[in-house]
Symmetry: C2
Subunit: 203 residues, 2 copies
Amino acid sequence: MKQIPSPSKKRFVTLARLLAQTSQKKITSVELAALTGWGEATIRRDISLLELHNGVSNGYDVEIVRAAICAALNIGEEKSLKHNCCIVGLGKLGEALLASSSFTSTPFELVAGFDTNVNKIEIMKSAVPLFPTLDLESKIRSLKIEYAVLAVPDEKAQFMADRLASYGIKGIVNYTNVILNLDKKIRVENVNTAFVLTGMIAE
Amino acid sequence: MKQIPSPSKKRFVTLARLLAQTSQKKITSVELAALTGWGEATIRRDISLLELHNGVSNGYDVEIVRAAICAALNIGEEKSLKHNCCIVGLGKLGEALLASSSFTSTPFELVAGFDTNVNKIEIMKSAVPLFPTLDLESKIRSLKIEYAVLAVPDEKAQFMADRLASYGIKGIVNYTNVILNLDKKIRVENVNTAFVLTGMIAE
DNA sequence: TCTTGTGAATAGGTTCACAGCA
DNA sequence: TGCTGTGAACCTATTCACAAGA
């Protein structure tokens, strides 16, 4: 399989979702362009990277393309490529994320929630197992947690991120207001609302 | 002022935060490269776009650069360039975002929360005024709301987004699992945890 | 006639490498 | 010597434009 350029990968992630949520069986590059706002040539080039050759002059088969994208990016929902993740910090936001994060039909499994407040994790009701932050290292290792959602107070953000990093986490979804400074091999995505909004007006 | 390329703008948003949270007075391109993971040449080129010429052979003055970025991108926190925004959908997540979204020292003001459940908005305690979704149009117009945080259940996501769009909203921070289909002049940022995580492993 | 797939052209950013200043 | 600022080279991605298949 050809190496996929990273802008194409980003688009693929969106495309995969889009194809999963459409009711059409077939779809053309023009339709996809209208749905996504990207150029139709861009879409054709992206999909051609998958080397399917199933669309010739007929539009693409939605399910075949979707499956091919998942295969190419390793983002299928098969058991074999599930990645375990956790939520660190169970304040209002962390708790809400714990309850509302839908990882069904994604390559992720939410396997733990952590908070320093032992009282809280005893009282809280949750389908996901909760642990004191004290157990962070042991649980990350024993549960083979690869990704973390960081929802601690800003003051603890860098400290907690450092701990996560040292325990071998691969990526952090950062809800705090802090720009984290970590080894560059760790992927960080800043999803703090204010930060995202700022990006929107700057664009 | 020179036109700033959009990758530079994205970096500037991060840089602005970074400079705001550092305690240093002066900072060099090499230090910034270490903090951000970007190339030092990239950083120098970015900052040179601001045409400050204040750094010559001495490193940059943190506060001057930060202020210049805010000025260039219009992301200062002065009253004059505040943008009003709201949260639509006050489920667990919406409620948490309402309570925890810190817009202090950002160009945003959270001015409203909306939910269809009239009961809930009456009971809920919140520093931000709450309204029934019925009043969405009138409040968006009267409060001059420009941006919305979408935290409704997936089934209502597209419908709600369409309403927001028709009332003239400029951008949506989308917490739902749905890829929205809207007029391309409306900025949408997908921050759904599963979606963001998927982007991380695809990269 | 409609659509894909793709060489070739173009546009856009990044990185190099060094002149110039403190 | 240590730093920025920037032409020039390089690299990458997008878009054009059209051949070819159904």
